[in-house]
Each structure stands twice: as C-alpha cells, then as structure tokens.
C-alpha cells in the first residue's frame, strides 16, 4: 500500500530527476476547449495557442476553421488528436446544424491532421502528395506527438486522407471554395479561397506573430507561393498559426522571417560556425517579438545546416 510518505518521496524524486516527467503532467484536465470566433458570416475560426506542442496544450496550436454551406459543414484541418477531432466534429455540427460534408487537410504536419479519425471515412480530403507524405512519415509523426502531448493523444491513430484535392473550384451550393495547390512550407500546401466571404485560408504557408516552422521547407518555393498568395485579392488572410487579419501582414512577416533565417544560416555556415554556435546567434529585435523565435530559429538551423555541409564544402579526399 502506498503511504503518503511514499507518494511524497516519489514526488520529490520526480522533481530532482529530470528524466521523470513532471508530476502535474498526470493531473492535467484532458479536455479541449474550442472557442469558435465567427470571422465572417457562417465562418468560424478556432485559433491555436501560439506555443510549441506541450503536455499542457495537448498540441492544439494550429488554426482550424468551420464553414457553413448548403451541402453541410466544411472543415479546414482537424487538429492534433482524436480527442480534438471529436470536439471539433461535434462543434461543426452544432454551429452549422448540418453534418460534415467535407474536411480539407492543408498539409501533412501532425498538429493539423491527427483529428481526422473523428470524421466519417471518405470525407477527409487532401492533395495526393499529402496522402503520400502521411503514408511515409505519419507513424513517425504520431510517435513525436505522443511524446510531446502525452495522454491527450490517447486512442489517436493515423488516417490516410482521400487523395482527391487538386487546384480548382469546389461548389458547395451557396459557397464556392477555390483550392490552390502550392508548396514550400512542406512539399504540398493547400490554400483555400472562399469566394463567398473573400477569406483566404493559407494553411502554414503563412504564420502571424508566431515563428514559421521549417522541418520540410523549401525556402525558394515557399517564397514563390507567398508571392502568388499576395497577388490574390481577399477580405482577410487566415494563417495556419495566428490571428485572421484583413491585411497582408502575415504574408510579409512570413516572407521576412524565412528570408532572414536563410540568410543568417548561410552567413553562419560561410563563417565556419558549427551548429551549436549558429543556434546561439543573436536575433534582431523584430524577430524576437515573434512568438517562439529562438525555438524555431534553433530548429531551422538544424534543418538547413546538414544540407549546406553536404553541398558546399570542397571535396578533399584523395586516393587511399
């Protein structure tokens, strides 16, 4: 039988030994509170926390949207876990008083796709490349999510979406949504333009006041996608992370960020810095004001450095 003293002993062990997870992690109330904000008539945004994935936020860090249409609810991205997806599915039906007709996944990153399990099979759509990316990397993403978000992930399994989304217009009766297949943040990023409200849902091609992530980024292609997005008139931009704003601030900030980190990383590499030194470089003030600036800069250095090391140094081996 466990006495109170034993319990206290365990608690203090957990605090002293960093490889034992904090005690409070097991006491967190594991229920997502989705706060829908109506950003246009019949369009609701559930904003993600501007944080990394943690045991406290359960991975609910990405934006998710619900649109009311004559054909039923349309959902953009499904969140980080089965539990989130279930809350979202319920909410979509409550908001629209209709069943969910279609779910779109903007790209294959785990904070956007692991709620898919809660939706009827066949309704979840993505580009063929996103479906393939999840086949290749989905199980690995699930492992990372279970580790980072813990018990919030309970029961979550990988769902491969229907590979049917491609550039073109989808007509939901009273709402036409134009799909724009792009890339750069990942090999395949789907932006959605709602012709009825004029809202542009960019997925993670745009981050606002939250540092962009780069584990699968192609910076040059990303820059081109941002230029293309910027050329399309819209009433507001709904980024993958950050607030919906009727300006192109998100596009500009994302472009400035990826250009700045790319140039800082290239410069550090050319000066002969190793990774440990490059991740510690000072960031300019404007970058520091963006949430998770240091964290994402550090990750980006680690994403970009190995390729530079493989490509840019002279070959020096000689016949043995």
């Amino acid at each position: 039988m466990m006495t109170r003293r034993h319990a206290l002993g365990l608690l203090s062990t957990a605090m002293a030994a960093p490889w034992i997870a904090p005690w409070e992690a097991y006491a967190a109330p594991l229920s997502y509170t989705l706060k829908p904000k109506e950003i246009a008539k019949g369009v609701w945004l559930m904003e993600g926390a501007q944080e990394a994935i943690t045991l406290s936020n359960g991975g609910a860090i990405a934006n998710v949207a619900v649109l009311d249409t004559a054909a039923g609810a349309v959902v953009i991205d499904t969140g980080p876990s089965r539990r989130y997806g279930e809350a979202l599915s319920l909410l979509a039906t409550e908001l629209t008083r209709k069943p969910v007709a279609r779910v779109y996944l903007t790209h294959f990153h785990p904070d956007h796709v692991f709620g898919s399990q809660a939706f009827e099979s066949g309704t979840v759509a993505s580009t063929p490349a996103v479906a393939q990316g999840l086949r290749d990397f989905g199980e690995g993403f699930a492992d990372s999510m279970y580790r980072a978000a813990g018990d919030w992930m309970r029961g979550t399994e990988l769902v491969i979406p229907e590979p049917i989304a491609e550039s073109g217009v989808e007509d939901f009766g009273d709402r036409r949504i134009r799909l724009l297949a792009m890339g750069g943040h990942t090999p395949s990023d789907l932006a959605l333009f709602d012709e009825t409200s004029g809202l542009m849902f960019t997925g993670d091609l745009v981050f606002l006041d939250r540092a962009p992530t780069t584990p699968h980024a192609d910076i040059e292609r990303w820059r081109i996608s941002l230029a293309n997005l910027g050329a399309i008139p819209c009433s507001a931009i709904v980024p993958g992370h950050g607030a919906s704003e009727p300006t192109d601030r998100g596009i500009q900030q994302t472009r400035d960020w990826i250009e700045a980190v790319e140039s800082m990383v290239n410069d550090a590499f050319d000066r002969g810095l190793d990774i440990s030194e490059a991740v510690a470089l000072p960031l300019p003030d404007w970058m520091k004001r963006v949430a998770l600036a240091r964290y994402e800069f550090e990750r980006t250095v680690m994403h970009l450095y190995p390729k530079l090391e493989a490509d840019r140094w002279p070959r020096v081996d000689r016949e043995g």
Binding site: G272, M302, W313, P314, V316, R318, E319, G320
Partner: protein, 270 residues
C-alpha cells in the same frame, strides 16, 4: 623545493578529489559506473569551465549536435565525451596535440541522457562538465540512412571540408566523411561498422590532433576542431581508419581565398 611543493600540492588536490567525491549535479544513476569505466576511476572534479552545448530541442535522435569545449582550461591532454544512459556510452575522445580542447560533432542518443565532457589535465585530474539532454528514443537502434540505398558503398569515405584561419595562427577545420557508422544495435542486424580513429596532421607530418570515435558518432561524421598551423599556406591531412581496416585519406588546403574570407570574418566564435 619548488618541485617538491608542486608535487605536494598536486598530491593534495588529487587526494582531495579522491577523499571527497562530489555529488553528480545531474544525479545520474550511472555516474559511479562512468567514473570507473570511462575515467579510469578518477580523480574527478566537476568544473563549469568544461562546457557541453546541446540544442534545447531534439527532433532527430540520430543527429544531435554536441559541442564539447574545455578551452577555458590550460593543458588539456585528453577530452572525452560520453552519455551515461546510452547503450554505448563512450562517444569520442579527442587528443589535442596542437589543437584546442574543443570538438563539435553530431551523435545518436537512444533516450534522454546526461551528455558529459571530461578533460584530463597534466595533474591527472578529470574535470567534468555536462548537461542533461531531453530526447525521444531510438537514435542508436534506427538503421543508418545509407543502408536504405543499395549503392551506399560508392560514396563511402567521400570527404568534404574547409579551413578557416584566424589571424592568431589558429585554424578551424570543419569536415564531413561519408560513412554509415553502424552501431550494431539496429533492427536490420547489421554489425557495428564505424570510423574508429582519425588523425589530423600538418602536411609536413606534424601531428595536430587525433580522435578515437565510437558507435554513437552520427552517420556521415561531421566534425569541427581547432588546430594551430605553422604557416599561412598550410594544409591539414586527415587520415581515418574504420573497424574493417579501410583507410580514408584527405587533405584540406588553407587556400588564399579562404584565408581572406576568414580574416574578414575575424574570429568565427560568436
């Protein structure tokens, strides 16, 4: 008399280290074992001047960037890097002949673990620094990426590198050697196969540094060391040997344009 006094002081510091072992600041269950097996039983003191730098976030457990830096100490003869909770703890040993007590590289971790650097100075004392690295598992038991390609052997031993010379005569050497660095612990059953020794010397034969490496060093070892070169038109020869006896030779030239780049950049250390 002075020698005797020095010897007495040395004995005093050694016996002090032996008599009153400090508690491990990282509270590792493996610490005493590490001292016996990797640090020859000590004497050991924890010293903040020996630094280990790891990232605050680890995404790829097979490629964790680590820097061991004991440049704040004088006369380091050996710098050892190890990870208490790895299935294979000893990562590498640097013997700086004409080099700084500094090495940056990438390693595999099988789980969260203390990463330590131990610098042995002339008095025979190991001075130890370290950090706890939080990481998911699997870096040592995942097969090398090269093993997914049937033609991996064609690029075996390919080496790329560059030298940055500073005005004070020190030079930073960064290089990458293609090698699977198999741990022998992977699901595919491939036995351990890794580069076990690297010797860096000046083109005239002067030894600069040597490295003993073990299974936890990442695939395609990518290293940064700082050596002292005798002249500006210098070259560094690297000779490596793997556990199958294959020898890898390369020469990195400190060419004029690289020198200019380095002098305009100044000391590359931020």
């Amino acid at each position: 008399m002075r020698a005797l006094l020095g010897a007495t002081l040395l004995l005093a510091s050694v016996s002090l280290a032996r008599a009153a072992p400090q508690a491990d600041p990282l509270a590792s269950p493996m610490w005493n074992d590490m001292v016996e097996r990797i640090l020859d039983g000590g004497p050991v003191v924890f010293d903040d001047r020996v630094k280990v730098v790891v990232p605050s976030v680890v995404e790829d457990q097979a490629q964790v960037p680590v820097t061991a830096d004991a440049r704040a100490l004088e006369g380091v003869e050996t710098l050892v890097v190890f990870a208490d909770l790895n299935p294979i703890q000893h990562v590498l040993t640097l013997n700086p002949a004409k080099a700084a007590a500094y090495v940056s590289f990438r390693m595999k971790v099988e789980q969260g673990t203390p990463i330590r650097a131990a610098a042995r100075t002339a008095d025979g004392v190991w001075r130890v620094g370290g950090v706890y690295l939080d990481a998911a598992g699997g870096g040592c038991s995942a097969p090398a990426a090269a093993r997914e390609k049937s033609d991996w052997h064609l690029s075996l031993g390919e080496t790329n590198g560059k030298i940055w010379q500073a005005v004070d005569g020190s030079a930073r050497v960064r290089f990458r050697i293609r090698h699977p660095m198999d741990t022998g612990l992977t699901r595919d059953g491939i036995p351990a196969y890794y580069i076990e020794r690297l010797v860096l010397s000046h083109a005239d034969g002067t030894p600069l540094a040597s490295l003993d490496m073990f299974e936890p060093v990442s695939e395609d070892p990518t290293l940064t060391v700082q050596v002292r070169l005798p002249g500006r038109d210098a070259a560094v020869d690297i000779e490596g040997r793997d556990t199958n006896g294959l020898v890898y030779k390369s020469r990195i030239l400190a060419s004029q344009d690289q020198s200019e780049a380095a002098s305009s950049a100044g000391d590359p250390t931020p």
